[in-house]
């Protein structure tokens, strides 16, 4: 089926990206088919899902005109618990993909944030300094954390990854 072929070629791209994400090589790529089922999932969230790409560490990225906006997914904010502190980098900081650039604190646990993109930080969401709970309440809008001018996004994050995590979120809500 055409849909399966398309997804297979996308998944082979994904497997070359995976080693760059510093995860164990045994992690297998995701291959999704089943258009009718996912058609239903995507239709309910198509506006959001068209714009975001997800990493395997549950960060989302939206890239527009060379500027990438980064945040964490609903799945991640739930796994963290109530965020009480958000430590973000200074504007102008140069980051490479996988660099540690900040931390979130929740339930007495400091969790490091790693940059999914290479680039320069051009804007930081200052709302989070006073209201870190936005990361939980509005993880896709007000809780987003940085904008970066990205100079390289290697391989690209497949939409398949995004669909996989949207599925997780749908399931968690059900």
């Amino acid at each position: 089926m055409a849909a399966c072929w398309l997804l297979r070629s996308l998944s082979s791209n994904f497997s070359t990206v995976l080693p760059l994400l510093a995860r164990s090589a045994s992690l297998s790529p995701l291959q999704l088919a089943s258009k009718p089922y996912f058609g239903r999932t995507l239709a309910s969230s198509s506006r959001l899902s068209a714009a975001l790409k997800f990493t395997d560490k549950h960060e989302w990225i939206r890239v527009e005109d060379g500027i990438g906006t980064v945040g964490i997914s609903s799945f991640a904010q739930e796994a963290l618990g109530d965020v009480v502190y958000c430590g973000l980098p200074e504007v102008g900081t140069q980051l490479a993909q996988q660099d540690e650039f900040g931390a979130l604190e929740s339930v007495k646990a400091a969790s490091e944030l790693y940059s999914p993109l290479t680039g320069e930080v051009v804007e930081v969401n200052t709302l989070l300094a006073d209201n870190p709970g936005l990361v939980n309440k509005s993880c896709y809008k007000d809780g987003k954390y940085t904008h970066k001018r990205h100079s390289a996004v290697r391989g690209g994050y497949s939409d398949i990854c995004m669909r996989h995590f949207r599925l997780m979120q749908e399931l968690k809500q059900n």
Partner: protein, 276 residues
């Protein structure tokens, strides 16, 4: 789904498996359920589905092995250096460790260090304690002789990839330990383990790429007057206590360690090993 079944499943059946296994699910074409077990005895099998969604579950087998490392009385800085050694070990493959130690008197703060400016920290130094900033969660606390400090350096990929779950498990471990001493301990909206309004065990951890460090500090026979000089963990109106204070008899760190190890294996469903 039971062992040995061969069946064709509809999407909702497969979805329940995805919900259990989360990221370990790989979606691949045409799989048939052969043999699935839950928990720690898991097998890799391809799952076939005549319907629309299919997946293959890839799971680990057996309980994780955790090495117990007894450090004795070490400075806070030395313990940080050793934790980093064990954190780095995880780079090649999971190598879980449980570091046990006591510290000479030291006050430590976490990543939220703004409430603790240098003048305040200098006043604490005048008391004869060391002072250190750490990259853990939680606010200011005290470590000293008579307090059992435990630093699990685990790779959460072998357990559950949720920091919230991990902290919860640490709390439950200590609650189970307290119950072995017939002490009723509880959790509260403030992370840590409490006996009434008094905290008996502080928790503050760090997690990077699913590797944990820092951990918990359980008062066994700690001199609690050290806590008078701070608002422990930034929580006003609450006190601190220790196992000795609750039991009204001396309970040493040595006496408590085996109980902690037992509670830990039960709560985390793991096996312990000690270096030769």
């Amino acid at each position: 789904m039971t062992r040995g079944t061969t069946a064709l499943y509809k999407p909702e059946d497969v979805i329940s498996l995805i919900a259990v296994e989360e990221e370990r699910v790989v979606v691949e074409e045409r799989a048939e359920v052969r043999q699935i077990t839950r928990g720690s005895l898991l097998l890799t099998e391809t799952i076939h589905c005549s319907g629309l969604v299919w997946c293959q579950s890839q799971m680990r087998g057996g309980q994780p092995l955790v090495e117990v490392v007894r450090l004795g009385l070490v400075s806070y800085q030395e313990a940080l250096r050793l934790q980093q050694v064990y954190v780095n070990r995880h780079r090649s493959s999971p190598a879980h460790a449980l570091l046990l130690c006591e510290h000479p008197p030291v006050y430590t703060t976490g990543i939220r260090h703004k409430p603790y400016p240098e003048p305040l920290l200098d006043r604490l130094r005048l008391l004869g304690a060391n002072v250190h900033r750490a990259n853990r969660g939680g606010l200011i606390t005290f470590h000293g002789p008579g307090q059992l400090v435990c630093y699990p350096v685990l790779n959460l990929c072998s357990f559950k990839k949720s920091v919230r779950w991990y902290v919860d498990q640490l709390e439950q471990t200590v609650i189970a330990l307290c119950s072995r001493f017939a002490i009723q301990a509880t959790t509260s909206p403030h992370t840590g383990v409490w006996v009434g309004d008094n905290k008996i065990c502080a928790i503050g951890i760090h997690c990077g790429r699913y590797i944990t460090s820092h951990g918990l500090a359980l008062n066994c026979c700690t001199d609690l007057s050290w806590f008078d000089h701070i608002v422990p963990c930034g929580i006003e109106g609450k006190g601190v206590t220790s196992l000795s204070a609750e039991l009204r008899r001396h309970a040493s760190v040595e006496e408590v360690v085996p109980h902690l190890l037992h509670a830990f294996t039960q709560q985390f469903n793991c096996q312990l090993t000690e270096a030769a």
